[in-house]
Amino acid sequence: MRLVRRAVEGDREAFSDLAVAHWRRLLALARSIVADLEAEDVVQDGLIKAWKKIGSLRKAESFSAWLTRIVANTAVARARRRRVFQPINGAEVMAPGRTMDDRIDVQRLLVKLAPRQRAVLHLTAIEGLSDREIAEVLGITSSSVRVHRLRGRRRLSELAGRGGTDERS
């Protein structure tokens, strides 16, 4: 909390230390929302936005959720703007002759989801947050969180079940 208070007062060394502490977690979230290649860029953009807004942070204990929200929103905006979710390699996702588990290519599956669904599923499955926490992080209601998760899970289950191909897209 001391670092957060120092950062709020304008200490960029303290802010950089906080950024480093959250770096890998935020990067994992950004990876789930945007293409892998852009994830590091998105997180750094989010951190710079956070630095500019940190004077408005009222509760030091909310820092983590506040920062996650900024990075998640930055990533969602980037994903919507680009409308393309490019895997870094063009490898065949469901190459014939391999087992179902071997053939799962996360990036190729995520491309079929809306950015907000990716964010909700990541925060649920990877970070283990509750609906209320996810709602706070993403700035949406808990019922929206449930709807996004349900739709995302259905879609992924359908895609994984039919080997990642999608006749509708």
Binding site: W23, S32, Q44, I104, V106, S157
Partner: protein, 116 residues
């Protein structure tokens, strides 16, 4: 809404976790250096801003003082050539161009000010 019916396949969740947690190309030190280079220093500018604000406040105070002095009530001007000063509790001084100063006794200090 039954979430259990729509859980991610365990293998997908495992792969997703592994993929999301892939080693970044930037390590923590590089990230810190990048950030320090990209985020503006907010401490120094705010000190500079304080100095600027203090300087602006001083200038403003001087201007207000000057304006107040400039606009402070002077003697009452009845005509262009006639000026009346209140010189005492019951006395006014009438100055006319081309004539001697005249002291006029009044009943109260302000009653007859401005009357020729």
């Amino acid at each position: 809404m039954n979430d259990r019916d729509h859980d991610l396949p365990p293998e997908l969740e495992r792969r997703w976790r592994e993929w999301a947690e892939t080693e970044p190309s930037l390590d923590e030190q590089q990230l810190k250096q990048n950030l320090m280079a990209r985020i503006p220093d907010r401490t120094s500018p705010s000190r500079r801003q304080l100095v600027l604000v203090a300087a602006a406040a001083s200038i403003l105070a001087v201007l207000i003082g000057f304006e107040t002095t400039r606009q402070s009530p002077g003697p009452a001007v009845v005509e262009e050539s006639t000026v009346i000063h209140e010189t005492g509790a019951n006395v006014i001084l009438v100055l006319r161009e081309g004539s001697e100063p005249i002291y006029v006794a009044t009943e109260s200090s302000s009653t007859n000010i401005g009357v020729k």
